[in-house]
């Protein structure tokens, strides 16, 4: 579903050159859940943002469902329709109600009729357990509720892949669970997911594979059972010692 070949992303600024994603190659199969973990600044968020072209990478290839997103013949907007993304800071549209947040892109991008978009939105809001807030503005919602709306907003486009960029990092501890529950449900339903997170429990329980990144490189790629019990890389061992 996702194929990444020799991905390179360089940030330049103030005389410094940072290789945020340094020659990464990997793939995510259909229905697979891959969790990316690593210390901050390791390039895991940048890597994820390259997957839907939010970061313009410098070299390499990202192929989503057979389409090379960097090719000049590719309509990037058309690819992004199929790739949902959930952000650390939710990024809900504050001037739109919850319902409008979920219907807007359906209307504008998918050209769905108002009634159809609304039905779809209500079904998804019910699924993430927040249908009763449909007519509230996002500022009235707690962080956990906002993040569930953001998930519903991404799902409304019927994506083939979902990317999660630290979806629980900005949440109060007691709200992490409700968001993770929604994500677990999605995984059970067979959604292809790439998740950057610090939730080791989620990785252990849901992921088929864990990618450990540091200084822009994927140092380890293993099933969670193997990674959490017997990490091979010394850097991964040190990291797990700190977080577990």
């Amino acid at each position: 579903m996702i194929e990444v070949k020799n991905l390179l992303k360089i940030f330049e600024g103030r005389g410094q050159v940072v290789r945020a994603v340094d020659d990464v190659s990997t793939q995510v199969a259909k229905g697979e859940v891959v969790v990316v973990i690593g210390p901050s600044g390791s390039g895991k968020s940048t890597f994820l943002r390259c997957l839907n072209g939010l970061e313009e990478f410098d070299d390499g290839q990202v192929i989503i469902d057979g389409i090379d997103i960097a090719s000049s013949a590719t309509n990037l907007n058309a690819v992004r329709r199929e790739v949902g993304m959930v952000f650390q800071h939710f990024n809900l549209f504050p001037h739109k109600t919850v319902l409008e947040n979920v219907t807007l892109a359906q209307r504008v991008v998918r050209k769905r009729k108002a009634a159809e978009a609304k039905d779809k939105a209500m079904a998804l809001l019910t699924k993430v357990g927040i249908a009763e807030k449909a007519n509230e503005y996002p500022s009235r919602l707690s962080g956990g509720q906002q993040q569930r709306v953001a998930i519903a907003r991404a799902l409304a486009m019927d994506p083939k892949v979902m990317l999660f960029d630290e979806p629980t990092s900005a949440l109060d501890p007691e709200m992490v669970g409700e968001v993770l529950d929604v994500m677990k449900q999605l995984a059970r339903e067979g959604m292809t997911m790439a998740v950057v997170t610090h939730e080791m429990g989620f990785a252990r329980e849901v992921a088929q594979r864990v990618l450990f990144m540091d200084v822009g490189k994927v140092l380890e790629d293993a099933p969670p059972a193997e990674f959490f019990t017997a990490p091979k890389e010394p850097r991964a061992q040190a990291f797990l010692k700190q977080v577990l």
Binding site: N52, L54, N77, A78, R80, R81, V83, G84, M85, F87, H89, N91, L92, F93, P94, H95, K96, T97, L104, A105, V108, V109, Y137, P138, S139, A150, R153, A154, M157
Partner: protein, 322 residues
């Protein structure tokens, strides 16, 4: 015991009243010093006045009968040369003829009175519509220029920067002269068009900077969220960024527009009869210099404060989603 201390406020209110009274007395003394005679009663006629139109006999003839009818009278007359009768309507209290009188052609029979709009009202209207027209055009110019200013295209960006710098670096008065005497002559423009054009270009440059700042103040995450859903750059701007930016720039935009109304007084230099020019013209005939200038100032204050109330209300409406 609360930490919040409530000091008495009334001495300060008292002081305020004393200061204002002092200023008023000072003003009054100052006008006494220069022997200025206030004639406020002359001012209202410049807003609206009762105009008298003389009604004259259409031909030489004889008054057959005057039919009084309340405030108006119908005067029936018949021509000496023969032919059909004529009826002339005049105000009863100005009637100058009686039954059977002989009148010659063009002789005044009486007058009718009509309310006419005075020059101050006309000037006020010109100021309002010139300001709104150039405010509207300026907003469009500002929106386009603001978008060009943050465009990735160097040509668009360069043009926008050049335009903004040229306008912001020169006085409006000079711009009006250039627009009227140079561009106006080359393109053969009417003075009103030239005035509106100069004001629009002026306000457009400032609006562009306000809009640019507004767009850039919207967090990057908003654009990223919209793009990640598959929206194009234009769709993202229209549905996500501009509505939020507009809400943020409303207060500075309102300030700019209020400035525009005041700056519009400068178009009086190219002989557009706006509020300021009307005031100047009235003074040459009435000699009520102080009264007229105070009235003109009050009228500007009236428009600007009505507008700020309106925008305050609009702002509160937009604050619904906060």
């Amino acid at each position: 015991m609360s930490l919040k201390r409530r000091s008495a406020q009334w001495p300060w209110h008292g002081l305020l009243v004393v200061i204002l009274l002092g200023l008023a007395i000072g003003l009054w003394m100052a006008t006494k010093q220069v022997n200025y005679e206030w004639r406020w009663e002359r001012v209202p006629q410049y807003f609206a006045y009762h105009d008298e139109v003389a009604q004259t006999a259409p031909f030489t003839g004889r008054i057959v009968k005057v039919h009084p009818d309340g405030a108006y009278s119908q005067v029936e007359m018949i021509p000496d040369a023969g032919g059909s009768r004529a009826i002339i309507t005049v105000e009863t209290d100005t009637l100058r003829v009686a039954d059977g009188a002989q009148v010659t052609e063009d002789q005044e029979i009486g007058v009718t009175r009509h309310w006419r709009v005075g020059p101050l009202t006309e000037g006020l209207w010109v100021t309002i519509w010139i300001s709104f027209a150039s405010g509207f055009i300026g907003l469009i110019i500002g929106l386009v220029t603001g978008l060009c200013r943050i465009s990735k295209n160097p040509a668009l960006r360069g043009l926008a920067v050049l335009y903004i710098e040229l306008i912001r670096g020169t006085p409006l008065l000079v711009q009006i002269f250039i627009f009227y005497f140079f561009i106006g002559t080359v393109l053969n423009l009417d003075r009103t068009v030239a005035g509106i054009g100069a004001l629009s270009l002026f306000v457009g440059a400032y609006t562009a900077e306000i809009i640019r700042a507004g767009i850039q103040s919207i967090p990057k995450g908003q654009t990223e969220a919209a793009r990640s859903l598959g929206m194009s750059t234009a769709e993202t701007m229209i549905h996500i960024v501009l509505p939020q930016a507009f809400k943020r720039v409303l207060p500075p935009l309102a300030g700019q527009f209020i400035s525009l109304i005041k700056d519009s007084s400068l178009v009086s230099v190219i002989a557009i009869t706006d509020l300021t020019k009307s005031g100047r013209e009235i003074i040459t005939s009435s000699f009520a210099t102080f009264e007229i200038w105070f009235t003109v100032a009050l009228l500007y204050l009236l428009i600007t404060s009505v507008l700020s109330q309106l925008l305050f209300w609009l702002e509160r409406r937009f604050a619904r989603s906060d």
